[in-house]
Symmetry: C2
Subunit: 138 residues, 2 copies
DNA sequence: ATCCTTGCAAATGATTTGCAAGAGT
DNA sequence: ACTCTTGCAAATCATTTGCAAGGAT
């Protein structure tokens, strides 16, 4: 459990109920679209407006509190910034699962980027396929 | 140089000038947004409509002729489908460069996915950072 | 007390759709 | 000829913005 007040203040943002609500939803779901965040936060804060969710996600992206996870054929999802990791994205049910990038992969990425003298800020790996439970249901 | 007529017919699509125009632009640029495709195709086919570009990109995605490259903080780009590869995305100038996924990385991805019994269809690796020429300009 | 943030409503921008005319096989 | 595809315009959906009122430090 993270101290959201502190995280927001450190980032130069006021710790409003709306922002804490967004962070709590993302802590809980892992990755959500704007609309999912809006629906979930509304359960606790029925008066929150969609524009506020957009504004807050934007400003938290700028301040590196959140990260955008763009997904082919679907809306972007957002997650609380943490170590780079891999997303397994199910093409049937849309679920997103995290997996760690191990050391070998990290080294490979560095080596590949160095070939182009490219200064890496971060990497995003999406693997698309079919998750275990959707395979079982086929 | 690819035979676009054949590629389209194999995919059950008529080889219209508009579709060939889209493919030629993508062959030339590597990866473009919808709008870039529209502007470029217009140079050869001034009457093409933006809706036609949208429709054609959509149907070519469905038929696996094109692939969507979703990018954090920017519009998706589209490319002609080929072997999976890595995208180096410059956060300054927005350029996208391809790099091959070598065998070790491929094996890593397979191993990681197997942990979750996930059936891989394809993988998409985006590395965000600063390209060589933007570094030089700093 | 001050400045930042909110909710609302309106504005803008992106994408999709319906349909009659035109093009590919 | 037949069916698929196009361009246009309108409709829809997503996102951003302006602003007066309210909230956090």
């Amino acid at each position: 459990m993270i101290n959201y007040n502190q995280l927001l203040n450190q980032s130069g943002l006021k710790a409003t109920h709306q922002r804490i609500g967004v962070l709590e939803v993302l802590e809980d779901t892992g990755h959500s679209t704007i609309d999912e965040i809006y629906q979930r936060v509304r359960e606790q804060h029925p008066a929150i407006s969609l524009a506020t969710v957009y504004n807050n996600v934007d400003i938290m992206l700028e301040r590196d509190v959140l990260v955008e996870v763009p997904i082919a054929g679907a809306k972007s999802r957002y997650e609380i910034k943490k170590q780079d990791h891999i997303h397994l994205i199910c093409q049937i049910c849309g679920s997103v699962t995290d997996e760690s990038i191990d050391l070998i992969s990290q080294k490979d990425l560095t080596r590949i980027a160095q070939k182009d003298e490219f200064a890496i800020a971060r990497s995003q790996i999406n693997i698309y396929g079919i998750c275990q439970s959707c395979q079982a249901a086929m």
